[in-house]
Structure formats: C-alpha cells, structure tokens
C-alpha cells in the first residue's frame, strides 16, 4: 500500500504534529514566527505559528491560548513531541518575524517581529533544541512548508520567490 502524503495546515496561533511522509504548512507569516521542531530518526515533527513573544502581560486578562505565545507554545509542542519520541533528538528551523511596513514607526509597540524571533530563540535554548536553520527578519511576509520525509523546509515569499532551508 502506498502512503499518500497529506498536507496539514497550521493556522495562526496554533500548532500541530504530524509524521512522515506528511507535509505541514503555515501561510502568511508576517511578524509572526513559524517554528518547525522535528526528530529525523522517528520521523515526526511539529509546526507552530506564534503571534507574540510573551504571555505574561496577559495573565489574568481572560482565557489564554497557549499556542499564540512563544513562551507557552514551544514547551507544549515539545512535550507532545516527546510523548511520541521519548528519547528524542529534536532539532529546529524557524521562519518569519518580519517588520512589515516599518510598523515600529507607526506603533508604540515596536518591532514585534524582532521580539518574536528573540523569544523563540531563547525558548529553543531553554529547551536545549539546536536551531539548524532560519529565514527570519526583513520586511516581507512568508509561507512555510515543511516536508516530514526529508525535513526540508520551503520558504515562499511574494512574487513566487522560493528558498529552501
């Protein structure tokens, strides 16, 4: 029986897990960051699409969706990955964190993209997951497609520019 390759879409403020030979994608990463964490030997991976670096300022202000924040999403996703691969050898690739439209000149909130990249990197370090590749910063939005067969990550930019990391 031939295995069909599914394409699993991860929405904004969400994360999902999948295994080989599936593909996962998340589209429209602007200041958001997409984090792909995977284990090559076991053939599993998770893809997260966070919007914000830190959940702490939002504690006590209504329900918190952990998948929206770098500080909560990554540990949660890694815990789920480890259920499937207890002695796992996880690696990561990250995409996104653009500063579109020079928003920092328009908002008091500063460069969210840069803060998201920083927060994801710190979280990966805390989780002791090596960051193998990145396509981050700049000014343009990105779409990220990961292939769980070979763990290649395709980054698509506007006007059909394609980069593999």
């Amino acid at each position: 029986m031939e295995l069909t390759q599914k394409e699993i879409k991860v929405s904004i403020a969400d994360y999902k897990l999948a295994s080989s030979p599936d593909k996962m994608l998340t589209v429209g990463l602007g200041s958001c960051v997409g984090t792909f964490i995977y284990d090559e030997r076991v053939g599993i991976g998770g893809l997260s699409h966070i919007m914000l670096p830190d959940s702490k300022p939002f504690v006590g202000k209504g329900t918190i969706n952990p998948a929206k924040f770098a500080d909560l999403a990554l540990p949660a996703m890694v815990a789920e990955l480890k259920k499937g691969a207890p002695s796992s050898n996880l690696k990561a690739k990250i995409v996104g964190g653009a500063n579109m439209f020079n928003f920092n000149s328009l908002s008091a909130n500063g460069n969210v993209g840069q803060r998201n990249i920083q927060a994801v990197k710190e979280m990966l370090q805390a989780l002791q997951i090596p960051l193998l590749a990145e396509h981050v910063g700049g000014k343009t939005g990105r779409t990220m497609i990961v292939d769980l067969k070979d763990f290649k990550t395709m980054v698509r930019l506007v006007h059909s520019q394609i980069v593999y990391i």
């Binding site: 929405s11 990463l29 602007g30 958001c32 579109m100 439209f101 328009l106 908002s107």
Partner: protein, 195 residues
Amino acid sequence: MKYTSLQLDALKEVINIGGGHAATSISKLVARKIEMDVPAVKILSYHELYQDILADNVEVHAVISGIVGEYGGIVLFVVADDAVAKLAELMLGSSSSDKAVKMSAVSELTNIISNSFLGAIGKLLEVQLQSSLPVIQDDYFGAVISSAYVALDQYDDQIMVIRNEFTYAKERLDASLFLIPETGVIDRIVKSLGI
C-alpha cells in the same frame, strides 16, 4: 470585545459616512462614478476572516497609512492585481504597463481615500483626523492583516473588521479599505456618539 448591536450599527453608520465621502472624492478625481457598498463591521476570528473575506495566502497590494490626530490606528487598503490596473487606469486616464507608475497612482489614490475617509469621520466626531503618507507593499493577505493588528496591540483571536468595498460601473473593484484602530478607540467613538 463586547459591543451591543446598536453600538455596532452606529459604528457602521460612521464608517458608511467616511466611506461615502471617500467614494465621492475618487469619483470627482477620476470624473466617473465610484460607488461604495454598505460597510461591514464584524467581529471575526482570523479563521473566519480568511474564509469569508480573503484567504491568507492570496498575494495583495497593501497600502498602509497611519492615522494622525486624536485617535491612533491605521488605514489599510488592500487591492488585488487586476484592481490595481483598473484603478491606475482611472487615475491616469490611460492604461500603463509601467508597474512603478501604476503603484504610485494607486498610492496617491489611497492617500486621497484615507484622508477623505478620516476627514469625514473626524468631522462627525468633532476631532482632527488625518492620515500619514502611505507605505505600499506586495505581500500575503494573512501576513499583512495579522501584522497590522498585532502592531496596534490587538492580540485577540477575534478582531473587529471594519471594511468598505468599492464598485465602479457595477463592476466590483477588488479593493477593500480596513480601519484598524488602536485599543480603546472604538470605545471612545461609540461613547462620543452618546450610545
């Protein structure tokens, strides 16, 4: 975010007036009748926004201007490829193949739309509102819209989408105007309307 349907209706009326003025300014400028649909004021999740209005992976021309004055926020004009050509043709009086010329015409048009939109709203609310010079960027709709809301501290999974759509000669111009106010602005608008 909780608003009564009466408040949402009032807000819709404010936007309707703003959009009406914007449509009139373009009509005058291009000497042709540009109409505006009844505006949508809705509270949507990103998922609903991408499903109902425009998919997150669609490449759009986005023109953004900051709001300067009493209320903070941004005005975002999202234009599809074919609408850029149509709008530029309306502005220039002839079709141009030069992309820079087309984009500059659309950017100028947006500037006029944003300012007349904000001017009309400001007049109604008795405040000074203007837009800063527009920044134009081609990008994915999902990247544009989520980054815009986040940049303005709007972190909810549900966002208030305020949108006007324009038509020309009964033909839909694939162009939408989004008003993304800073936190608290909607409350102040609703309050100043006395509702």
